[in-house]
Chain length 332, copies 2
């Protein structure tokens, strides 16, 4: 689990793209860019088009009065709760006290969660860890501004300090696609679950996740990376409020145009899943995308079989609550 | 200049909106929300509508190859350079080495500039100052993560340290609308100019600004605060690259939908200014908005004249290069 030789060949989210003088090797963003779904959306025609007049969504304010996140578009909140209810990948009912916080991608939400979980008056920065191999941007995010609130401490397997810590649990994991659980055994930790890939086109939905902080992104769900829309499902209202505060100070909210587009696309996916639920579900986005990923994965298997340098992870078959079938994880 | 009794009555940008448990007094966002321009954009009808199909702008990548900012939409870059060339408020020609960096509002760009200007290996954090009265969010931004790179040191008038510093120069100033210059007299400083209000509906364009880092935002230019689009004009390519890096790590770019909308709206303003330039310019956005602000300002004057508690700043008349007229600053 700690090596990289047994993983997929390319990072599935951007790591260190060009645009900056950096001592690190530059990895091209194309490798993590989910443009493979473009053909699906093109085939949907005008039904998915968003039209915004010049006078719409001009205000900073977009959220529902009394909601935890004052800039979350009500339409997006509705679509988010609806798709999680339909797919059953995460508990996200308002009635059960699950708050939705929107961010400019899940990267911003991860920073917001670190801010929310790290008290400002600690003698030492809170440790941040993640089991290797981990998404390289976590380290970059945690170290960028040399914050006194938190400190990147690397591989969670090696963490043995007594103080407070935050463990990021990425499941399915980036870059290796494995299903993950926390690895640090200590009562002093808080957990942030990055569930960007916990959707039925990538992996069987084996259970309804119900953790304190769960991060998702439209980039991996629908493929609309350019929209920069992520969301968090958060149980504790005060944590949700602090995360909202982070977005408020750093970007005064989140693009309302992107939120409306994400709301529409998620809503259409839900409509189609429900329309086909009495049928074969053969045309919904998740089934289309699962087939696409399976084809790509099969091709990769063919290539790797001929290689002596690389091998690929073996993924167990699992029963998917959403698809009502058994299948293997298929990383993008 | 340091007091607040001689200023406008409400903050012109959001300060501490609701949505968070905070010991600070909560100021409602409505006070800084530029929704007064909605009627203008409504009157423009379908001409300003943006239509985005489900398969457009899906990729992370949007920028021109070889540009300083890999996620800047070429259409937005073109509109930004065009409007500055037309209004003559800022030097922004590519041929003269002015780089454009887009951000999720100018707040993100301010953080990006702090990151870019503060070397990571200094023994002490770089001081950040601004002449009082200043936009309250500067302090919040600089203190949020307790960065070791920089430290908020408050009023630039009181700054007398020998070490490196950054002075934020806001002109016209928020909250008092005054035209500003740097106040710290030291060779160790770097300057960030926040020119959010340096547009002809707020103040006469007396000169073409040509500073190292100049920040603008669509919120104050066209009134589209909900889009969260800001931009920086940056002379030093390495600074532009570091600012881009900041946006890359914190939000992996900027909403492409919002960028396309901003590009369209700025382009329409330019088209209309040029269409009326041989006429009276009576219908262009800036003249419409200037009249609106003058009416509001006159009403405020009437109210304040009857008050014994408040007074209003006196603004000198100046010749505006863009409008070809003399007039006074009219803060929103």
């Amino acid at each position: 689990m700690c090596g990289t030789e047994n993983t997929t060949l390319a990072p599935r989210r951007p790591a260190v793209p060009n645009g900056t003088p950096s001592p690190d090797p530059v990895i091209n963003l194309d490798q993590g860019d989910p443009t493979m779904y473009e053909a699906y959306w093109r085939g949907m025609g005008d039904r998915c088009s968003l039209v915004i007049s010049g006078s719409e969504v001009m205000s900073y304010l977009g959220g529902s009065p009394g909601g935890a996140c004052w800039f979350l578009e009500p339409k997006l909140e509705k679509s988010i709760r609806r798709i999680h209810g339909l797919v059953r990948n995460a508990a996200a009912d308002a009635e059960d006290g699950h708050h939705v916080v929107v961010g400019t991608g899940s990267s911003q939400l991860l920073q917001a969660a670190l801010y929310a979980l790290c008290p400002p008056d600690q003698p030492e920065p809170t440790s941040v860890v993640c089991a290797a191999p981990y998404y390289s941007c976590y380290k970059e995010i945690a170290e960028l501004l040399q914050s006194k609130l938190y400190k990147w401490e690397g591989d969670a397997h090696n963490f043995n300090k007594d103080g407070p810590f935050i463990e990021i649990v990425t499941s399915p994991n980036n870059p290796d696609g494995l299903i993950r659980k926390p690895v640090v055994n200590s009562p002093n930790g808080r957990l942030i679950y990055d569930l960007a890939y916990y959707w039925p086109h990538y992996t069987p939905i084996t259970h309804q996740a119900d953790y304190d902080i769960m991060l998702f992104t439209i980039s991996k769900c629908t493929g609309h990376a350019g929209s920069r829309i992520g969301w968090a499902i958060v149980k504790d209202k005060e944590v949700a409020a602090k995360m909202t505060k982070f977005m408020e100070v750093t970007t005064i909210g989140v693009s309302r145009e992107s939120q409306l587009r994400a709301a529409k696309l998620l809503g259409i996916i839900c409509d189609d899943c429900q329309a086909f639920s009495t049928n074969t579900k053969s045309q919904n986005f998740f089934d289309y995308s699962k087939r696409l990923l399976t084809e790509r994965w099969d091709k990769l298997h063919e290539v790797v079989k001929r290689s002596e340098t690389f091998s690929l992870s073996k993924f167990p078959k699992d029963y998917c609550l959403f698809s009502d079938r058994f299948y293997e994880t298929r990383p993008d």
